[in-house]
Subunit: 201 residues, 2 copies
Amino acid sequence: MAERTDEQHAEKMKKKQAAHDKIMATKTQEKGLLIVHTGKGKGKTTAALGMVVRMIGHGKKVGVVQFVKGAMTTGEKAVFDAFPDRIEFKPMGEGFTWNTQDRSRDIALAREAWDEVKRMVADPDYAMVLADELNIVLRYDYLPLDEVLAVLTAKDEMKHVVVTGRNAPEALIEAADLVTEMTMIKHPFRSGVKAQAGIEY
Amino acid sequence: MAERTDEQHAEKMKKKQAAHDKIMATKTQEKGLLIVHTGKGKGKTTAALGMVVRMIGHGKKVGVVQFVKGAMTTGEKAVFDAFPDRIEFKPMGEGFTWNTQDRSRDIALAREAWDEVKRMVADPDYAMVLADELNIVLRYDYLPLDEVLAVLTAKDEMKHVVVTGRNAPEALIEAADLVTEMTMIKHPFRSGVKAQAGIEY
């Protein structure tokens, strides 16, 4: 920016603002979104948590189903507990073995967690449903992708559903309204720093 | 994954888990992180908000300074209000003109907001400081990058500082411990959907 003059700078800013206002004026539709956070970077679950917080801040009810143990833990739990009527939190990730010996057990657990998601998606009380790390379970073929897509695309028009996890299936990205990829540019684990309260959990 | 057998699948998963455990065992250091969320995608402020929520959930105090009006609004505000002792929220984005006619005014406002960040960074009471959309102000040369970097790199070793906004300066990325880029894969504004409660604000 240093080589640009203040006048050019202001002119560009004004044009951008005008273009933005024009675009926003055409955006009149409110609808529930199918949102996907994927990629190898951090922030997928954390950004979903931010949306959950906004939603309960607006007085809406949110359902959270966690498919992988520990993805959401003590930090957010304490805050959720302050809003018991607005959030139903189902940590369903306990017990997965990720092992062929117990593949049938893992599939049963995935099914149980998915049944919770389906119930929340079908229940008009929930304005938003977060299926945290559902992509992982899909990646391991623990649930039929077709069934998951059928449920998510048949959701009530006003309901928001957020799906997180790396390796989102292409068909889910196709079906989604809003997809963000989190890319790791730099990570402190590389330099010996462990997971810490408030950052990772 | 369909073409891979269950056995190969389990073998890969076990190897990954073992490698992960080995890496994690070497991560013993706790330290405050300089975290940057950048990129054109959504989720930069939202993921920072998620970390703020985790931090206050752990009983820690957080300071939030917002450089751009409206980046954090009613949704999170209602939740912050439930934890008045753990969060100090300073919405400082009001009044910016982004206009050369008032460039000196914008610079003064940026300075005022930056002074709040500096105060929180210097105060041991705050476990985390979020400088929301600081990158925007740096992009417009409203604050000297050198001064900002000097303050952020001289922070207490245990303090977490989170900086958000697209176009993070290269030198800030260099100085940071953890950098995530949010990339937009798909955005519903493109198809006529407006910003909605609980999603964008």
